[in-house]
Amino acid sequence: MNEKIKGGRHNSVAPSIELINISKAFGAVKANSNISMQIAQGSIHGIIGENGAGKSTLMSILYGFYKADKGDILIDGSKVNITDSKDAINAGIGMVFQHFKLVENFTVLENVILGVEGGQLLAPSISKARKDLRALAKEYELNVDPDATIDSLGVGLRQRVEILKALYRKARILILDEPTGVLTPAEADHLFRILNNLKKEGKTIVFITHKLREVMEITDTVSVMRQGEMTATVKTSETSPSSLAELMVGRKVLLRVEKQTSAPGNTTLEINNLNVIDNQGVQRLEDISLSVRAGEILGIAGVAGNGQSELLEVLGGITEASGSIKINGKEIALRGNEANGQSRRLQGIAHVPEDRQHLGLIMEFEAWENIALGYHNSEDYQQNRFLMSNAKIKTDAIRKMEQFDVRPNNVTLSTKGFSGGNQQKLVLSREIERNPDLLLVGQPTRGVDIGAIEFIHQQLIRLRDAGKAILLVSVELEEIMSLSDRIMVMFDGKIMGEKTPTETNEKELGLLMAGINGDTN
């Protein structure tokens, strides 16, 4: 490493970004310790690591949100002192956040010039921005209507606006934080084309992700972070997904789910002509019909926001609907007093919701209190007619948390103190251990570490093999393909088609997800 640095200094081209011994601690937690890294100009550099590995902290230091406890940042070979985002912009750094920072009711142009209006009068800077945007759009395939308001744009276009914002501010270094999480495969492909164009123009790109496939596809070099340390920096062409995974987790990881072919039994869930119209009058679900048999996993693929959430919520008793749903042949209520999470649980439906932090868990509760969520009326949690038994719930929580290897194994720890993966295990332990006939699972591994993903997938397969029906919703195609026995694709509240995992590929599913039905017409 040291030799490299020396070598770099002797070279005529200094690295675009050089970090030397960056350290940052929050209290006793060392978020970054002695991170050193070089990124060559005109390259795409990936940074991968599990949640909490310190990726975001490192980038926040680079963008001026945090100040490093020690260490130096060199941009193009000269030391810079970045104390806020203004400094970062001046140093030529642009950042595209995971959650966009755009003013929804402003136009694209207004958002782009926000903060760099350059004068009291808007008109001159707007016309200048319009010209610049046109040039940028042509150069990098970054086409966006400059006069559209943000709220009329889809996620992919919003992301382009963020990139335009950075480029308009003359960024030479672009940092993207988990940029593909919200994109369809096609949109992601487009983004990668844009990034390659930028690279050709000599821009340096830092690409933060936890998806190994993307790292392999787009980056030139990749750094792996684990527990605040940078464990390796390698050339992408010289590594493999499995060795990267091992570097991230610190042990060997199975990337493919090992499972037998399913042996489906009777029909557990039968949905006929399900419709949901929300209170704005928008049809969220349109004539959904499907069935899931005992002992099989039905995967629902689709880009987020195409009705999958509503489907889960109707089944979970959170949203009202019209149509018919049968569980083990018995009709369940879709409206009124009986359509609620309590009666659903009594009917044998367990629900691991998509958004565990807002639906599945109460973050302020202690872990044991969340073990009772939804099952608080269950008889084994009561002391007598009037009092709940906290002791009984705690005993149950200890057992469940042990079984699902929730770490730390501390039932009185506040839920927000657990990592994403352990929070998810907490939900799974609660829902699976009740032995439901039907398990609804939404985004089971969103924001979950690779190590925990493996465990969660194994649990779902185990439940399937125990003869239970599972309805799986995920935006991760890889996950859908590896877990499901059958796959359905949803688009705009409708089911676009059904595929068998072994007889389809990502491209075919991707077209369905984009609403293009190649089969029939």
């Binding site: 601690a25 929050f26 209290g27 006793a28 937690v29 979970g316 008793g317 959170i318 609620n340 999470g341 309590q342 009666s343 659903r344 649980r345 629900h351 919701p353 958004d355 807002h358 639906l359 599945g360 868990l361 109460i362 973050m363 302020e364 509760f365 209190e369 009772a372 969520l373 939804g374 608080h376 009326n377 009561q382 002391q383 009037f386 009092l387 709940m388 906290n390 720890l413 506040s414 103190g417």
Partner: protein, 364 residues
């Protein structure tokens, strides 16, 4: 974990807040030419230095326990009940009707009936805003504030036109019958050989307040309903996911809250004034918000915070009586305590957190 331990959060931070407010109050007292140390001593001896002082301190504290608990229970369901003032006032109406309508012969049945009457009236008064919130989403803060005004106007009308004895100039009911007079702490402690000043208005409803603390604690942390209430309070979406019905929780939390606020009337109306007067609550409903905030919505915290405010009220009265510190300034001192223990709590917490983490890093 790197969070402040619970005892720091619940004990040390409020204490530091009180300390800071004392320092600021001291500076203000100094500025108007009085000696702050003497003033503090006077407050302490006046409020806590004798059974006479305790008789008043506990009287005020009883009011604040009820209203503080009321705000706390609602707050566990994230209902911000600003209407304690109105609910307590209407609770007073319930007490007055109970005390004046029946031929009571002993205080004990009268107290039971009056407590029930106060609770029902207070709960009903809270039920309307709760229903509007649950069914139509009308914001509970707005509606409960409006209901404070409506309660005041309603009592005005009743006291001036209906319940005022003929010929009386005071807009107040007639005195309650002698039999409904509640035993004071003096009466209660005399048989066990403790001499307690006769003067203070503290009475048996202080014990009811203590029992209410215990019951609220059991309710919030040891019943299914309390569990659902807290779940709903932390996350409405998660509660819905768990099959908890928002409307039911809103109604129950506000009914209990209103009942607790109403029960305050057993202390100030039945125990002290022994008649219903205009503005009998005197802002205790609002102090309840500060008490709940400071007590972290926990009954024990509410009890301690209520005692602190009882002390401030009684100590303030002593200051008004024996010094030239004007009563407006005493209100300022009370406001400073609210400011530093409630509103500016994070100002204390942040540096303390930092210190804590620093010391942790040092030892580990």
């Amino acid at each position: 974990m790197d969070v402040l331990p619970k005892w720091v959060d619940t004990v040390i931070i409020p204490l530091i807040g009180v300390l800071i407010s004392l320092i600021f109050s001291g500076i203000i007292i100094l500025l108007i030419g009085e000696n702050p140390i003497d003033a503090l001593k006077l407050m302490i001896t006046g409020a806590l230095g004798s059974t006479y002082g305790w008789g008043y301190t506990l009287y005020y504290a009883t009011n604040f326990i009820f209203t503080g608990l009321a705000v706390s229970v609602a707050f566990h369901a994230r209902m911000f009940n600003i209407g304690g003032e109105g609910q307590a006032a209407i609770g007073g109406l319930g007490v007055a009707i109970v005390c004046l309508s029946f031929g009571w012969t002993h205080w004990f049945p009268a107290l039971l009936a009056a407590t029930l009457g106060a609770a029902i009236f207070g709960a009903l008064w809270a039920a309307i805003p709760a229903y509007l919130q649950g069914k139509y989403g009308s914001h509970i803060v707005i509606t409960t504030i409006m209901f404070n005004f409506i309660a005041a106007s309603l009592l005005n009308y009743l006291l001036v036109n209906v319940m005022r004895p003929t010929g009386s100039m005071d807009p107040a009911t007639q005195k309650f019958p002698e039999a409904t007079s509640l035993p004071s702490l003096h009466d209660m402690l005399e048989p066990v050989g403790i001499s307690f000043s006769k003067a203070g208005p503290a009475n048996i409803s202080f014990l009811i307040a203590l029992i209410a603390c215990v019951l609220v604690w059991i309710f919030i942390w040891h019943t299914r309903l309390g569990y659902q209430l807290r779940a709903y309070g932390h996350s409405e979406s998660a509660a819905k996911y768990a099959g908890i019905k928002p409307f039911k929780i809103i109604m129950i939390s506000m009914l209990i809250s209103g009942a607790l606020a109403g029960m305050m009337a057993t202390n100030n109306v039945m125990g002290e004034a022994e008649r219903l007067i205009m503005n009998s609550t005197e802002g205790a409903g609002f102090i309840g918000i500060a008490v709940a905030l400071m007590g972290r919505s926990h009954p024990l915290g509410v009890l301690l915070a209520a005692l602190l405010f009882g002390f401030l009220y009684q100590g303030g009265a002593e200051l008004a009586m024996w010094t030239t510190i004007p009563r407006e300034l005493i209100v300022v001192i009370q406001a400073l305590v609210i400011l530093f223990t409630g509103a500016l709590e994070n100002m204390v917490r942040a540096p303390l957190n930092w210190l804590w983490l620093k010391s942790r890093r040092g030892t580990s």
